[in-house]
């Protein structure tokens, strides 16, 4: 395994690097949390980084019409191929360095994908990339819970009951998205036990997210981070509240912040406190702020709450490992 850049953890927001490698001039929505994820991701990774982006908002909005906000090298790749692009780039760099065609130095390789590109289409390629232990790469999944770029279609990551172009609530059938969100990071951690680092994050907790990116890049081998990004367009709320909704999702227990490092699972931040018994906020506080849940009745909210309660009370590890072995 080639060496990696040793990026030191940030101790608090005041240590955030001043430099921006993803700057202004992207055509994202007002209050776009995914754009913030890009900014924090590359702020944490630093200038010696190659970023690959599969199709989605962060490709289309960021690099439309012969323009870009990226300072670091960035390349587009197809919707389902963030995994293959990351692997190919890491392997290419390694080969070029071995043949002395470029300076031998650790270069971060990050491939990002949206939930459409990652949770749905790119899952097999991500899984494949995570089995190649010889290459240092990070796959970052920015999850805004729908195909937001093409005007909000349901993805495997959309929450139960949410309004979308593919699941408009009707008078007869109110709940049109009957699927529950995939447990992406948990699934990848369970399926690729040799991967040294898998984490979930949220840009509302910026330092935590940047440190996770730093740890993923420093630890070596293929790594994976799943971020939870409130989307003012698809979730239908005032763009001002992107930050608050991220925090609410964590505090209600809907989104669980954790990392799996060398097989050891740690919940962090507020999720850790919730696991230790701090009361969770009712999910209603989160649901009532968004137009995509405006059609919910009390029963729907109660069902949603029940699912979240189950996750915290019945799962082996909340948000990570579902209910355990059958009793003998």
């Amino acid at each position: 395994m080639t060496t990696t850049q040793q990026l030191t953890p940030l101790r608090g927001v005041k240590q955030s690097p001043l430099e921006e490698f993803f700057t202004s001039g992207h055509r994202t929505c007002q209050g776009c949390e995914s754009a913030l994820v890009m900014k924090l991701m590359i702020k944490a990774a630093g200038p010696r980084t190659i970023v690959l982006g599969s199709t989605g908002c962060m490709y289309v909005a960021n690099t439309t019409y012969y323009s870009t906000p990226w300072v670091v090298p960035w390349m587009h790749t197809q919707l389902g191929s963030s995994g293959s692009a990351a692997l190919g780039t890491a392997a290419g760099l390694k080969a070029l360095m071995r043949k002395a065609k470029m300076k031998d130095e650790p270069i971060n390789v990050i491939a990002f994908c949206g939930d459409g590109g990652g949770v749905d289409m790119g899952l097999s390629a991500i899984s494949a990339a995570l089995t190649h232990n010889d290459y240092n790469l990070l796959i970052l999944l920015y999850d805004n819970e729908s195909y937001a770029n093409t005007d909000i279609q349901v993805s495997g990551s959309s929450p139960w009951g949410a309004n979308s172009t593919f699941s408009p609530p009707g008078t007869v059938h109110r709940i049109m998205n009957k699927r529950w969100k995939k447990n992406m990071a948990g699934m990848l951690a369970a399926g690729h036990p040799q991967v040294r680092y898998i984490a979930t994050g949220c840009a509302s907790y910026a330092t935590d997210m940047m440190n996770k990116v730093r740890k993923a890049l420093s630890i070596g081998g293929p790594t994976f981070i799943h971020t939870f990004d409130p989307c003012p367009k698809g979730w239908d709320y005032d763009p001002m509240y992107s930050h608050e909704l991220g925090m609410l999702a964590v505090q209600t227990g809907i989104w669980v912040q954790y990392e799996v490092e060398d097989g050891k699972i740690t919940l962090n931040g507020p999720s850790r406190l919730l696991a230790r018994g701090r009361p969770r906020l009712p999910v209603e506080k989160y649901l009532e702020r968004q137009g995509r849940f405006a059609h919910f009745t009390k029963e729907d909210t109660a069902y949603f709450q029940q699912q979240v309660d189950d996750m915290w009370e019945r799962w082996w590890i909340p948000g990570v490992v579902p209910p355990g072995m059958a009793e003998e």
Binding site: Q30, T68, K233
Partner: protein
């Protein structure tokens, strides 16, 4: 033989349903009187983003052949009426990279009309709207901007009020009676018909002379030809930024030169540097990296990059340190920090004045809670019938 075209300039997503309603109703109403029409969104706007200026068109012709002939162009180059559903768009619109700042009346044909929904008077609006070489009319439908999200529509009758005004300024395209038939057919409520009637009677129309208006030159870009582009669509990256204003200390990123994004803004943050605790949150949480870091550790929102989302106000832990103020209260994009550096007392006075002028208690963007729009509409009906 006559073909009419109308454009609706709106804020992406926030007014997508509103502009769709307006253009669809025009087409439906044209059918009511035996004409034919079509409505379509501008291709380049897709995918739409919150707040970024977008356009919808409606074209009405006497028969199918005429319509077909008219549509044999990428999009209308001249329109009979430009409908502007948010008055801050009057400052000009930049919808994507390389597009430059387009005057709001760019497509309005000589003698045509710009219809604006606004509480401002014509003189105030003309400070924003760029000058034109030909005369045109300015029509004002009194009202606040109607914003809603993708799923929950704010049905405050702005759609039908615009239609009522349109029947007044372009009477030959479609008559008020036909609009009202189309309104009744779609919404099945007399209230909306009455709203269109009132707006038809009350719309304020005034002529604008050539050369009257905002005289500043809107910025534009020269697009590279295909021969200047690099192979395999290689785009030059952004240069690494450096110290604040090119000096020592602080940080100022280099920003995209070809997309400024500030025409997306309906509100802008004003910063009270005296109470700032340098907590970094506004700077760190800004999705558009619009804050320049000054050598003394303060954060100066760059008004060419800020798109006015308001996240900074929300994350700021100090009460009234960052305040979102209506964009109408401003004429330039000057640096607030430089102003404050030059003359602190003058800046504090300016700050107070702007907040008094343009801070609104209620945000107009998107969804807040179930039933809110109904509450607001009920309040509006009680409050005034204008």
């Amino acid at each position: 033989m006559s073909t009419y075209a109308v454009e609706v300039v709106y804020r992406g997503i926030f007014q997508k349903r509103l502009s769709g309603n307006i253009c669809r109703s025009i087409v439906l109403a044209s059918r009511m009187e035996g004409k034919i029409g079509t409505a379509f969104g501008r291709y380049g706007d897709s995918p739409e983003r919150n707040g970024i200026p977008a356009k919808y068109f409606a074209v009405v012709a006497d028969d199918a052949l005429e319509l077909e002939e008219y549509l044999a162009q990428y999009e209308p180059t001249q329109v009979d009426a430009t409908i502007v559903v948010d008055d801050t768009l009057c400052k000009g619109v930049e919808s994507w990279a390389w597009y430059g700042l387009q005057p709001i009346n760019a497509l309005t044909k000589p003698g045509g009309t710009v219809i604006v929904t606004s509480y401002q008077d014509p003189e105030q609006l003309k400070e924003d709207i760029h000058v034109k070489d030909e005369p045109y009319n300015l029509a004002i439908v009194k009202g606040s901007k109607s914003f809603s999200g993708l799923w929950v529509y704010k049905d405050d009758h702005t759609d039908v009020r615009v239609l009522g005004a349109l029947a007044r300024v372009v009477p030959d395209m479609v008559s008020l009676e036909s609009y009202q038939k189309a309104i009744l057919q779609q919404w099945k409520t007399e209230a909306k018909v009455v709203s269109s009637q009132r707006s038809h009677e009350r719309v304020h129309i005034s002529p604008v002379e050539p050369g009257e208006g905002n005289e500043t030159e809107p910025y534009s870009f020269e697009m590279p030809g295909w021969q200047e582009m690099e192979e395999a669509l290689v785009i030059p990256g952004i240069a690494q930024g450096g110290g604040f204003r090119g000096g020592e200390g602080g940080f100022e990123p280099v920003r995209s030169a070809v997309f400024k994004k500030y025409s997306t803004r309906t509100m802008r943050p004003v910063v009270n540097f005296e109470t700032c605790t340098k907590c970094t949150l506004c700077w760190l949480q800004c999705p558009d990296s619009c804050f320049d870091v000054t050598p003394d550790g303060l954060y100066d929102a760059n008004m060419e990059a800020c798109c006015g989302c308001g996240v900074c106000e929300d994350v700021c832990p100090v009460p009234n340190c960052i305040t979102m103020v209506n964009e109408e209260a401003f004429v330039d994009n000057d640096s607030q920090y430089e102003h404050w550096q030059k003359n602190r007392d003058d800046y504090m006075g300016w700050l107070e004045k702007k907040i008094a002028l343009g801070k609104s208690e209620r945000r107009s963007h998107g969804f807040h809670h179930v039933g809110q729009y109904q509450e607001e509409n009920a309040m509006a009906e009680v409050g005034s019938d204008d």
